[in-house]
Amino acid sequence: MPHVAIADQTSELHDPRSFITKYIWSQDHKVIAIQYALTAIGVGLIALVLSAMMRLQLGFPDTFDFITPNAYLQFVTMHGMIMVVYLLTALLLGGFGNYLIPLMIGARDMVFPYLNMLSYWTYLLSVLILLASFFVPGGPTGAGWTLYPPQAILPGTPGVDAGIVLMLVSLAVFIIAFTMGGLNYVTTVLQARTHGMTLMRMPLSLWGIFTATVLGLLAFPALLVSAIMMALDKLIGTSFFMPAIVSLGEQLDYTGGSPILFQHLFWFFGHPEVYIVALPAFGMVSDVLAVHARKNIFGYRMMVWAIVIIGFLSFIVWAHHMYVSGMNPVFGYFFATTTLIIAVPTAIKVYNWVLTLWRGNIHLTVPMLFAIGFIFTFTHGGLTGLFLGNVVVDLPLSDTYFVVAHFHMVMGVSPIMVLFAAIYHWFPLVTGKRLHDGLGKLHFWITFLGTYAIYLPMHYLGFLGVPRRYFALGSTDFIPESAQTLNASITVSAIVVGLAQLIFIFNLIWTLRKAKPCSPNPWGAASLEWQTPNVPPRHGNWGQKLPTVYRWAYDYSVPGITSDFIPQNISEDAVIRDAETSGDVDDHSDKGSHT
């Protein structure tokens, strides 16, 4: 192999000189991470604009001519798919996974840097294919992000010619990109950890990212399988999923395929996907909370177990998305039970976050605000999930705005909260500068309160029976006039929240151009990524010598020492103690023994 592992080397790497090798065809995990992040945020903004257009239509019907019913469906579909796959998955794993894994385990790079680079360019290709569908005749597909057949590939659904094909191809390309990246992450975590970095000394961020990657590697094949079979149904006329069907008065050639089969495949991917997004967020928020509360994370081991158990359980709950499709009651019972069981480890995590805060030395920095905001939104979305996990409750609520509110709280807003927390937290590491505090707080409060202004009323609309994916409500007996007022207010909030993101972007640009460099470890974090010889770390990360790890990543507020934390690469002998207690080792040797 010409591309020998850089992570393998013990000598310092030479920085590539030219602009192209440094920033474009870079094999440095940090540059690739930034490329991933910028691309993901770019498409994410497109998805945000799409949601604004949907909200405009819902809030002020008959006002905007360019939003036709077909266009509305296309917006819904592209918004959902981009947000879930091309923004969140790519940003959390491709962006943060890439950046943090080698730094947190003390490696010089990923094990296969070349493959890593290829992964980014393949991802970019998938994004371009997806965006191309806006420009083909018929436009992008409007089948909903779930792409259920038979409607996804039959006339009547927008984008049935080129749109759906581009969507399927783009997903397939994305999955290839993800697999290349994922193989790298798993191998790097398992084989390239530095001296002394045992698995159980890894920060929780890494446990989350690692487990999510494994989930992704096992779940994305299901999407690939369904995309391949659906593409064949569409292009060659096979009948994997397409039933014998009459369309526009004509009997089609399809024989007797099973649309339900597609739903099973899709959700076998789709539910783990929720946790592919959630687990890295769980991990990163744990670290942010611990650092900014100057306390070790409560119940580290339990947190790791919960991540692993959630990962496992997420593969046996998928059919809770299919209660209305009909199934054997025994299966319904099974899936309702597993769904409720998965709430147990999830609840443990929430308790542990709260207990980490309890009697901590809480610094209300911007990352901390977002992290605490996450605890709220996630608990909120999780509780409505318990409702929907029960068959009898789900049946009337399915496909209403209650569901829209639920999944936006739990997998829309919550991971976004963590992403912001993470960006504000790790920005000084990536750029050497701290984002502006005041602007950050303004950004947080508008986003956090605005989210509630958007999604809280949606629960109520759902109870009224307002259906999701509807262009307009028309006159419906069971929906009162006032629902429209509520819808208008939601739209106004959504626009405000959307515009508030400009504060964030302004903050990014302003900080990069104008702000002064900050100290190398401004939050006083103990984990390894902050201990590099240069901040921001250079190519190869560790200078001449790889670090050695002596402890876990949560030694905060340790009694008897001079600074209030001990970095992971400081040995017991090198710890600087206060004069009066020096030598008194017993004093802190049982720290954290509450677990």
């Binding site: 020998v4 798993v186 009948s239 076998f268 023994s593």
Partner: protein, 242 residues
């Protein structure tokens, strides 16, 4: 491996500052560094094929599904051709295994011959699969005319892709065993850490052998699924809860 994992999960990291300092896995010369990624990759491919096969079972229970075997007039009632192809792939696997064992015994010449045989029989297998396609196509078994046909063409095509992917690794390995490409692997900064040539070849062959055995197992599954009778599908589907 899994036991280890459970033991790891019970460690109490907050209690053991300075305790054991495990080595970096990458510094150990007794570990083939690409083996783990290959196993993970094959795991992913397994999920991929497993999902196809499970939908195959489900789909086989719908009335429009006409199995390719079971009745005398079906093409796989006597699947001689399938057996021949199986034999070809099996020989390729055995040849790779021989090449690996020869390399371990430092017997590079045997290894080279065995490697060429492996390549030859793999290509033979590919060609035979294409002939099989043509044969079925001539008999009028088109891809879209029946779900059983669809699955047959689809699964064999994917298996073929998997095989072509393997060739991208095998062919360079063969060339390297004959001494090509040597300079590329020894960029000056990396030289001290590179294992010697013989060990490198052995590592690559371990991977190829594993890959080919895996290909063979997948092929057996595909064979079994396509050449079974409706009764077998029914039993299996019942076992899976359909």
């Amino acid at each position: 491996m899994s036991l280890n994992f459970f033991r790891t999960l019970q460690e109490k990291p907050w209690l053991q500052p300075d305790a054991v300092l495990p080595e970096r896995v990458m510094d150990r010369s007794d570990i083939n560094p690409k083996k783990l990624p290959l196993i993970v990759f094959l795991g992913i491919v397994s999920v991929f094929f497993f999902l196809f096969l499970i939908t195959f079972l489900a789909r086989s229970q719908y009335p429009d599904f006409q199995a390719l075997a079971g009745e005398t007039w079906q093409p796989f009632y006597h699947p001689q051709q399938l057996w021949i192809n199986t034999g070809l792939l099996l020989i390729a696997c055995v040849a790779l295994q021989v090449a690996l064992m020869a390399t371990r015994r430092q017997n590079i010449h045997t290894a080279q011959i065995a490697l060429c045989l492996a390549l030859l029989f793999t290509l033979q297998f590919g060609a035979a699969q294409l002939l099989l396609w043509r044969h079925l196509y001539k008999l009028g078994f088109y891809m879209a005319s029946n779900p059983a046909n669809s699955y047959f063409y689809l699964l064999t095509a994917l298996h073929g892709l998997h095989l072509i992917g393997g060739l991208f690794v095998l062919v360079p390995v063969i060339l390297r065993s004959f001494g090509f490409f040597r300079p590329a692997t020894t960029a000056p900064q990396q030289r001290p850490l590179q294992p010697p040539r013989q060990q490198q070849l052995q590592y690559s062959l371990e991977l190829c052998a594993l890959y080919w055995h895996y290909l063979f197992v997948i092929w057996l599954l595909i064979f079994f699924f396509n050449a079974s009778s409706p009764a077998v599908y029914k039993t299996l589907a019942a076992l899976c809860g359909y």
